[in-house]
Amino acid sequence: MEFKVPADIQTPEQLQAAVYEVERYADWLRETGVRREVGATNLPDEPAMAPETLAAVKAWQARKKVTAESLSQLAAALRAYKAPVIHLVLADIAPPALRQRLSAWIRANCHPAALVALSADSTIGGGVVIRTANRLYDESFRHRLVSNRDALAKAVSDVR
């Protein structure tokens, strides 16, 4: 059965972070297992996970028992996961609510497993610049103003 990235992992950065956190958690399981076998008492603290990583682990747990080995398999599956990426450039850093809304819309309307790479560029003024592997769709305020240069030139030339 094909592994699906949970909906909570929306960006390539979250996916990369999930791989790191799962591997770290697998290492922690191995280390604590060895320490327990030798009777050690000073066990290391359980590493924390981001909610989206935890969601991935839970989804994985529904298929396999969570062990160091299975988590390593999960990390390998996440690392090998090939999802199409759409890049969105906004005028500022996107708040979580907007990030979730955009990701949900793209997965519902364009591709169910797409990842959304968000970045900020204040020079676009507003709107969005959409970039896929093949194309770029500039719906920024800056592009609107620049593309309407004839009107701007006419306004300037009309000034007497």
Binding site: L88, P95, H111, S122, G126, G127, I130, N134, R142
Partner: protein, 199 residues
Amino acid sequence: MTWVLIAAAVIILALAIALGVAWLEHGHAKHAAAAPAAAPAPKVELDAAAAAALKQELETAYRRQIQELTGTFAQDLTATSKKLSEQVERLTTEVISTELEQYQATMNQVRGIADQAAAQIKTAMDQQQAGLQQAVEQAVANERDRRLALIDTRLSQIISSYLVESLGSGVDLGAQADYIVQSLEAHKEDIKKDLASGV
């Protein structure tokens, strides 16, 4: 020229008067000198009364002759003066007329030259003004085109700077969420194809 002629006429008139006076005096002296020449005539003895009467008669005749000659001379002098005046007047009129005509012609010529020069100056000024106006308009148009070209080539940079300066960090993405989703919606089919082929 006119005054020279008038002066010459006056001099001629004075000479004529002087000659007339001299002629009269000469006649009187001649009579006076001629009287002794008649002395060799046969001497006639006259009594005193007869001599006085004769003397009186001669003197009267002499005076009458003098008056006649003076009148004739006056008439000649008057006629001569009249002719001289007419001549002077004619000459003066002709000279003045000629001078006036020449003056008029000269004035017309000068006026023509002045009009021509004024027309040339006006034409030159009009041409210079037109050239200046054209140069100014061309300079303004060039400057406008240069600025428009500058704006055109740096429009993206100008607008980016303007947006950053104007909006700063106060961009409300929440307010733009609908616009962003509409932008995605506008390219939905293309994005779908791109993502399907971009895995």
